[in-house]
Structures are given as structure tokens and as C-alpha cells.
Assembly symmetry: C2
Homo-oligomer: 170 residues x 2
Amino acid sequence: MTRSATSRTTPRPTTRPAETAVSSMSPDDLLKLDQQVCFALAVAARNVIGLYRPVLDPLGLTHPQYLVMLALWERSPLTVREIGRLLSLEPATLSPLLKRLEAAGLIRRDRHPDDERALAITLTPRGRQLREQALDVPPQIVERLGVRVEDLQALHASLSRIIAATTATD
Amino acid sequence: MTRSATSRTTPRPTTRPAETAVSSMSPDDLLKLDQQVCFALAVAARNVIGLYRPVLDPLGLTHPQYLVMLALWERSPLTVREIGRLLSLEPATLSPLLKRLEAAGLIRRDRHPDDERALAITLTPRGRQLREQALDVPPQIVERLGVRVEDLQALHASLSRIIAATTATD
DNA sequence: CACTAACAGTTAGTGCACTAACTAATTGGA
DNA sequence: TCCAATTAGTTAGTGCACTAACTGTTAGTG
């Protein structure tokens, strides 16, 4: 752990600002950090989604279904591909999910008039109406989380950076 | 905590800080997809795990399997329950996963000598040896992520708060 | 001592998420 | 014009993750 004397008095070749903090970190620490971040990300996501479960249960929605409904409540005729781009999900994942939402009477899966290949996913009246109940979800989650809003905002900012980095590179 | 502003002079019945910001949002914004922390969390986790896929593929591991191996590389005889506590996973999730690791020749699933109910999960020589290759995983991920280390640290701090909040409450 | 509680792990069933392989519609050239 | 390449969505197959219901073991209590 005790940094070897590599960068002692020498000018430090390519010191981008990003690396300033790294210079105080051993490669070992870097590995640990990465492992911890990926682990924390997976656990936090599972835990938070688990928090949604009892809240979404009365609405008859799972968490991914809830995200799809959020997208549709914002803009209603959407194709499968468009939903996939919004949520970073594969069409193969959405296809059965959308059928379940259709079976629940929340959406319609009609052929797109301009392009027979595509589907026009629209809300049914029941689907549109469900938004009323959904308005109560975020406050309940925030309450159950019991985390300061500033912390949530900080988390959101950090996550956005990661998402930008991982979707831009693709 | 610098919670100064909330303690005005009027007591304000049960205004926890969490609720002030949420209740002051317009209902429209409340359900906006792009400000849902849960959405960002889910997408970030999926993206990062997707980043691991090609890196873990040569090792023959999935991401959850990799996390289990990380736990075992740190401490080797572990029960299913103990792994579950470390990774926040249900025994029902781990049971088939561990059988796959056993089938891959990386672990052994022996009955625990002191308690016939429990399993003693141990590494095989091959499983222990795999650590060598795994040492190369985090640097590859950090490189592919292309994110500043400060951002990773900030993310880790935020996630830790969330995990603490969600596992303590259970 | 017996018998019930609690506990460790497994199995069944549902749903998410991915890749690869497929069908059908559309587009763009040669 | 016609036909190859692209595109939209579906299906099959693997694996993760959960809940509920189960088997078998241990431990606690009457």
C-alpha cells in the first residue's frame, strides 16, 4: 500500500487533473475501488428496486413496467425501439413485457400506420388513468429510503456521469 | 449535519427534509423519467454490468458469479447464507448459481461438518487459480469506463449511503 | 424425552435481461 | 424494376432475482 517513490521529485509526465487524485492511490486501491463501485452499484440497484416492489404492487406493476409507463405518460405513441432507446433495453426484453402490459389492459399494441413493421404503443384509458395512483409512488419511495434529498441529487449526478460514459462509448 | 435552514422559528409539524423538496415539485415533474433516481440506478447498473460481460467472458464467469468468486477469494469456507449476506442475495438465487460454479469446477459444495443443514462452499485449486486472471479485470473496466477517479469515489460514497439506508431499514 | 420453533438449503413459478437466430416489411441501388 | 441489405419486432435459450412452499437438521422448551 505505501506508494513506492515513483513520482517523487520528477515532474509527473502526463498529469491530467483526473489523475491528481490517483497519484495518491496505489494500483491496489484502484482495483479495490472499482470492485467496490460495481458491487455497490449492483447491490444498490437491487435494494432500491426491492423498495419499489411493495409500493408498485397495488398498481399491479413491476419496476421495469413502471419505467415503461413513465415513458408513455410523457409521450404516448412510441415504438418498441423508441422505448428501448429511452430505457436502454433490448427489443427482445421489451417484447414480452409489453404483451403483459397489454394483457393488463394498460396499453395497446397496434401496427404503425406509416410502417407496418413497427408497433405504435399507446395508452388505454385505464393506462392513462393509472398515472393518478402513480403520482403517489415517488414520495413513498423517498420516505421509505430515508435519505436526504441532497444525497439523492448527488447520487443522481454521479449516476448520470456513468450513464453518459457507458452509453456514449457504445 | 448542517441542517440549519429547516429549524426556522415555527416548528413546522412533521416536515422531514425529505418531504419538503418532493412535495414542492409539480406533479408533472414528479414522474419525469429523467429525474427518477431509480431509473438512473437501473440503467447505470445494467450498463456497467454490460461492460463486465466481454471482460468476464474469457474467465467463463457472469457478473454475479464474479461477485461470488470475489467473496470466496477473500475468505474461503463460506456457507450459502453467508455469501447471501455479503452480496444481498437470496439463498434461492444463489443455490443454482453455486451449482453452476461447481459444474464449472471452480468450487466445491460440501456439507458443513458442524451443521449438516449448511453447506461449506470452498474453492477448488482451479477456482483459486482463476484469481490470477481476475486480477486483470478491474483495470480493464476502469479503462473501458473512462471516468475520472473522483467521480468513481463520489459515486461510491453516494451508493454506500443508499445501501446503508436500504439494508438497515429491513 | 419429545416435540415444536427456527433454521439451511432446494424447488417451482414468474418475470427481467441478454444474445443469436428468425420473419416480415421497407429501402436503396444496380 | 427487382433484389440485396437494412430495419422492426419476435422467439428460443441461458441465467439472474424474487416469493412461496417444501425437505431435512438443529435447538429450545414443556
